[in-house]
Symmetry: C2
Subunit: 408 residues, 2 copies
C-alpha cells in the first residue's frame, strides 16, 4: 500500500464529464489498496472568468480580494470531485487551503507555503477517505485567504506529498510526459521515461510549461518523487523525475532542447568599467520589480564595458525606460534593446562529464547561418539568445544534432 | 453616527454594473458618517448553476460537499463588492462565513447560527472599513463549511445586526417594501410604511416572499429594527418592521392579504375518536421528514372523527403514501387528498380588538361563490383553504372588502 498524491490541472476537471473521469482514475488507485490525496485546479477558463469580473469593478484589483475571488475556482472542483467519488461508492472529503490548513505568508497572489497541518488529512486517509484538496490556495496566520500564484496547484501537490511523506506525487496534465523538445515544433521529439530533477528544473525555467518551476524546486528540496502523466491516457507511464543520475549518464548526454520567446534583451554600451557598475545598472531595474534572467558583461579594452541582460518581454518597455532614466547617471554611451529574441538551450546532466557539447551546439547553429547574440552556461545547460525568427529552425537542427529522436 | 447592516439579494448583485450601484449606495451611507456592514447573496442564478453542476456528477448530492460548492457564490460577490468600494476610495474588507466566524451547528444545507464572533468586524468598523460579509454561510466547530439554506442571507443580515447591536438592518430586495398583497395580483395593492413584527411573520410564512421567515423570527427574538427596501430605488423609505402596535391599531385593522399555493391537503376519514389518534396519524408523517402546516380535526357523532392536514405540495405524494401505509393500523375508513388547493389569509394585529373580521371575510367569499374547505385562525390572522382556481379572485375581493387600497 502506497500513499499517492495526484494533481489534476484545469483541463482535466474542465466539465462534469471530465471530473467523473478523474474520479474513475482515483478509484482505480484506491481499489489497488493505495491511499490517495487529490489536488485540483479550477476548471479551465474559470480563473480567467473571475479575473475579468474583477477588472470590471476595479481595473487594478486589490490583491487580498482577488485571492478571495479566485480561490472559489478550486473550491468548486474539490466539492464536485468529492461528489463524483461518492457516486462511485468511495468515501471522500474536500478541503480548502484554509481547512487543511496550508499556512502561507501574507503575500497575496504569490504567497509562499510556510507549513502544512497534516493531522486531519492523515486521520481521513487512515479512515479510508480520499482526501480532495484545493490547489493554489492557502491561508495566512490572520485567516486571510492567499493564493500561490498561477500554476500554484503543482506546488500544492508537491508540498502535500512532502508533508505527508507520500510515495509518489503524480502531476496529471494534458501532455503525457516530458519530451526532448516541444513535439509541435519537432515531430520527432520523444517522451523521456526519466529526467533528473536538475534537468527538469532547467526545462521548466526555460519555458517547457509541463510543470511549474516552483513545484520542481519544492520537489527537489524535499526529495519528492514526481511523475508527469496525461489525464487523458490510461496506459502511459509518463515521465519520472529522478534524483539519481547514474543510469541516466550512460544513456544520453543531452536530455532535451528547451526554448523561450518570452524574453527581450537590453544592452548598455560604453559603461565605465569600475566596481559597482553592475549594481548601478541592475539596482534600479530590481527596484522597479522587474525580474532579470540572463546577465552578460564583456570587459572592453578602452576602460569601458558593455552590459547586456534579458527581462520578460512584457516588461521590456518598462525596463528600457528605467535604464534611459539612469543612463547619464551611470555614464553609459548608449542604451538599446531588442524584444524580438528567443532563447534556446540544450540541457543534460551528461554534459558534466562530456566535452564538446558547446562546440557541437555552436557549429550546428553556424552551419544554418544562425547568429548567436548571447551565450550563458551552467553545469547542465548551454543557452543562446538568437533572433526570434530562427528559433524553430534552431530547435529542430539541435534536436537532430544531439540524436534526441533516437530514444534511450 | 449609526451602525447599519445592509443586506443585498442576488438580483441586486447580479452583474458588475449592479455591484457598482450597491457600492455607490453603501458609499452614500458611509459619507453620512455611518458604520456599514454589508451582507451579500450570490449573483442571481449562480446558486442554481452550481446545483446543476453538482447534480451532473451526483444526482443526489452529498450535503457537506454541496455546502462547500454553493458557498463559493457569496465568496465571489463579497470580493467583487469590496473591490468596487475600494474603487470609490473607501476602505473595505470581505469576510466569508468562516472568517467572521459565524459558528453554526453541523446540519449541512440548513444549519442554525449558534454564535457570531464580532471582534474582528468591530475592529475593522472602528478603523473606518466597510465590512462585507458573505450571507447564507457559516462554519461548524470542526471547520466544515455550512449553509443556512435558501434565503439564509436575510438571516445572516439580522444575526449580524443582533450581534453588533446595529441601529438598523436594511434588507434590499427587488421590491420596494411590503405590500398589502401582491401588486401583480391586485394593482391597487399599497406599500405599507410600517408593519408589526408579528404581522410580518405571518406574511412571510404565508408566502409573501419579501423576507425569509427565519430572518423575521431572528429579528423578533433580538429586537432588531428591520427595514425592507428596494435596491433599484434611491428615494423610497421601504417598509419598517416595528415592535410597537400602538400607532398601528388606530390606522388599520388589517395589514394585508397573504396567499400560498404551494400546499396540498390530506384527509383521513372515519378514524376512531380516541386519545393518541393525532399522534398515530402525524407521527409517521414527521418520521418521514415531512413538515405539516395546518391541522384540523372535527369531532364526529358516531365515535369516529375526520382529520385533515396540509403539507408542501412537493411532499404530497410522499405524505399520501405514508398515510395509505398506516391506514389499516389506525383504523381509518379512507385516506384521500387534494393538491389543487390554495391558502388565503387576512392578517392584522388590529383584529385582536375588532370583532367581525372573520364574518366579513367569510361573507365576502360566499358572495363570490367560493367554497371554504378549511379554516384556521390565530390571534392576528384568519386563513382559509379554497380551490386553487379561486385564489386570485379571493385575494382581490378580500383586498377590496377590507379597504386596503385606501392607504393609511
Amino acid at each position: 500500500m502506497a500513499l499517492i498524491v495526484q494533481k489534476y490541472g484545469g483541463t482535466s476537471v474542465g466539465n462534469p464529464e471530465r471530473i467523473k473521469n478523474v474520479a474513475q482514475r482515483v478509484a482505480k488507485f484506491k481499489m489497488l489498496g493505495h491511499q490517495v490525496v487529490v489536488v485540483l485546479s479550477a476548471m479551465s477558463g474559470e480563473t480567467n472568468r473571475l479575473i475579468a469580473l474583477a477588472k470590471e469593478v476595479q481595473p487594478n484589483p486589490d490583491l487580498r480580494e482577488m485571492d478571495v475571488l479566485v480561490s472559489t475556482g478550486e473550491q468548486v472542483t474539490i466539492a464536485l470531485l468529492s461528489m463524483a467519488l461518492m457516486e462511485l461508492g468511495l468515501k471522500a472529503r474536500s478541503y480548502t487551503g484554509s481547512q487543511v490548513k496550508i499556512l502561507t505568508d501574507s503575500a497575496h497572489s504569490k504567497a509562499r507555503i510556510l507549513d502544512i497541518e497534516e493531522h486531519n488529512m492523515r486521520a481521513d486517509l487512515d479512515a479510508g477517505y480520499v482526501v480532495v484538496v484545493a490547489g493554489f490556495q492557502g491561508v495566512d496566520e490572520k485567516g486571510n485567504i492567499t493564493t500561490l500564484g498561477r500554476g500554484g496547484s503543482d506546488t500544492t501537490g508537491v508540498a502535500l506529498a512532502a508533508a505527508l511523506k507520500a510515495d509518489e506525487c503524480q502531476i496529471y496534465t494534458d501532455v503525457d510526459g516530458v519530451y526532448t523538445t516541444d513535439p509541435r515544433l519537432v515531430p520527432e521529439a520523444r517522451r523521456l521515461k526519466t529526467i533528473t530533477f536538475e534537468e527538469m528544473l532547467e526545462m521548466a525555467s526555460l519555458g517547457s510549461k509541463v510543470l511549474q518551476i516552483r513545484a520542481v524546486e519544492f520537489a527537489g528540496k524535499y526529495k519528492v518523487k514526481l511523475r508527469v502523466l496525461s489525464s487523458f491516457d490510461d496506459e502511459g507511464e509518463g515521465t519520472l523525475i529522478t534524483f539519481e543520475e547514474n543510469d541516466k549518464m550512460e544513456q544520453a548526454i543531452i536530455s532535451g532542447i528547451a526554448f523561450n520567446r518570452d524574453e527581450a534583451k537590453i544592452t548598455v554600451l560604453g559603461v565605465p568599467d569600475r566596481p559597482g557598475i553592475a549594481y548601478q545598472i541592475l539596482g534600479p531595474v530590481g527596484e522597479a520589480n522587474i525580474d532579470v534572467d540572463m546577465i552578460i558583461q564583456n570587459v572592453g579594452a578602452d576602460g569601458s564595458t558593455d552590459f547586456t541582460f534579458t527581462v520578460h518581454r512584457n516588461e521590456y518597455t518598462k525596463a528600457l525606460a528605467v535604464l534611459k532614466g539612469v543612463q547619464s547617471h551611470i555614464g553609459a554611451r548608449e542604451v538599446s534593446g531588442d524584444d524580438r529574441i528567443a532563447k534556446v538551450s540544450v540541457i543534460g546532466v551528461g554534459m558534466r562529464s562530456h566535452a564538446g557539447i558547446a562546440s557541437n551546439m555552436f557549429r550546428t547553429l553556424a552551419e544554418e547561418g544562425i547568429n548567436i547574440q548571447m551565450i550563458s552556461t551552467s553545469e547542465i545547460k548551454i543557452s543562446v539568445v538568437i533572433d526570434e525568427k530562427y528559433m524553430e529552425l534552431a530547435v529542430r537542427v539541435l534536436h537532430k544534432a544531439f540524436g534526441l529522436e533516437q530514444g534511450a
